[in-house]
Amino acid sequence: MNKIKRGVLPGFGFTMGCTMLYLSLIILIPLSTIFFRASGYGWAQFWETVTSPRVVASYKLSFGAALAAAGINSFFGLLVAWVLVRYRFPLRKVIDGLVDLPFALPTSVAGIVLTTMYAENGWIGRYLGEVGIKVAFTPLGIIMALVFIGLPFVVRTVQPVLQYLEPELEETAAILGANRKQTFIKVLLPGLLPAITTGFAMAFARGLGEYGSVVFISGNMPMRTEVAPLLIITKLEQFDLPGAAAIACVMLVASFVFLLIINFLQWWSGRYQRAV
């Protein structure tokens, strides 16, 4: 079969060659230089850099904020997808279309507008300030920015699954005596979980590396509101290339592990959808 296909359609060598060349030149070779550069540092110094308190604090912040934002987005993403698929209300199509805004809006624009909104005299910050909640220039602000950036992921992974879910499933549950809550938790949620998890992982991966929207709202105080990507830029500005590469290495490895998980989840949720 394979050989027959290869024999009939032309262009395998050409397109495969171009693909490999492009990928190698743009992605693979450049990316590998990071590991090469960090290895030139020596193991002891590498370890010292990536475990210094300021760097560890930035990892914790990036990791924690991305996790929190992805969690918030999972909950609200499911809710928004549910409302968009199941309910009819005015301007539904417009709101559906706007879900992708964070993908299309440059992150620096998102950063400055969120900072303006959550600053002490901003539209939202003013009222939150009265009850003693500070958002801009605190870790909470970083989470807000990451919620904005990651908003589309869960909505867009859950929406198609919800759309193609057979109504018979819920009808059967209702006929068998389940109330609405039981049907949702025991019948619908397990079917949606793979899509939610995929969306969560994608939002998390995006949040982990996010720089543009965060740099404005975080205030960039070392140890407190300095995210890992910002620390890389700081090292770079001090001409500490190996140091920047070392921090980047740790982030890359973390991201690759996540990419593997995402791909596994896509395969897993895909298998579920095919089974249905």
Partner: protein, 287 residues
């Protein structure tokens, strides 16, 4: 981001049967919470951008966006897009043809490699090109002795942007072409068409909406990329500032209304991209 977009209507819900829908007050509550969330996170920022942009009146707005620095940023942004998008389209079509039309060992690894930029922080994408081409980088001494500038110049901005946007077109075309199979192409070849003719007359018309979809996503990201470009640009005013960087510079100088004026241009671009994307979804859903 890609591969998850819903492109067609599913089974329509009537919502009449009480057994499979929620009581009215729950529906109202869910709707209210969801719309409040969307209001706070999408509608409010969107409104705030335009209100801030016009805060000092329409004249200040026009002055801000017609300043020579802003126009230079527009030119650089469009130049970058004019280089990056066609390259990624060619790559996307090549990769999708190889992956969708043929069976080979390691296909999933290849797809993972194409997806890599999604998992890499934009800052790291910029960093790798500084490590290679920067003054203290691997090729730095050679480049400077030959007077070639890549970092803090246009080539670096283009490279970093390409890295970030590599997956966009490919990720749209691969599932689409896999789904379509290759029977039509095989028929064309049997009937005597050459390889290129088959591609242009059979494959291209079949994938045109998916291709346009990818082009829109890729263009929007190219024009709006900030993190990666920020690392390699060097922030030279009027020379290496793209529009998103111009926004940053103006904002950091406390020139808020000008920053938001430029930001509003980028927002209009983003809204146009969303409109085009929805138009394509609607159009391709017609088939």
């Amino acid at each position: 981001m890609s591969g998850y977009e819903n492109r067609g209507p599913g089974p329509e819900r009537s919502g009449k049967s009480s057994a499979i829908s929620e009581p009215p007050y729950i529906r109202g509550l869910l709707l209210a919470v969801a719309l409040t969330f969307m209001g706070i996170f999408l509608i409010m920022p969107l409104t705030a951008i335009f209100l801030q942009a016009f805060e000092k009146g329409i004249m200040a707005y026009v002055t801000a966006i017609s300043e020579s620095e802003t126009l230079a940023a527009v030119r650089l942004t469009l130049l970058t897009a004019a280089i990056v998008v066609p390259l990624n389209v060619l790559f996307g079509v090549c990769a999708a043809w190889a992956i969708a039309k043929f069976q080979f060992f390691g296909k999933n690894v290849l797809i993972t490699f194409i997806d890599l930029p999604f998992a890499v922080s934009p800052v790291i994408a910029g960093l790798i090109f500084v490590i290679i081409f920067g003054l203290h980088g691997l090729m730095g001494p050679w480049l400077s002795s030959h007077n070639i500038r890549i970092i803090f110049a246009v080539p670096g901005i283009v490279l970093a942007t390409i890295f970030i946007t590599v997956p966009f077109v490919a990720r749209e075309l691969i599932p689409l072409m896999q789904e379509q199979g290759s029977e039509e192409e095989e028929a064309a070849l049997v009937l005597g068409a050459g390889g290129w003719k088959t591609f242009f007359k059979v494959t291209l018309p079949n994938i045109k909406w998916g291709l346009m979809y990818g082009v829109i996503l890729c263009s929007a990201r190219t024009i709006g990329e900030f993190g990666a470009v920020s690392v390699v640009s060097g922030h030279i005013r009027g020379k290496t500032l793209t529009l998103p960087l111009q926004v940053e510079i103006l904002y950091n100088e406390y020139n808020f209304s000008a920053a938001f004026a430029v930001a509003s241009l980028l927002t209009l671009m983003a809204l146009a991209a969303l409109a085009a994307k929805n138009f394509i979804e609607w159009k391709s859903g017609c088939y």
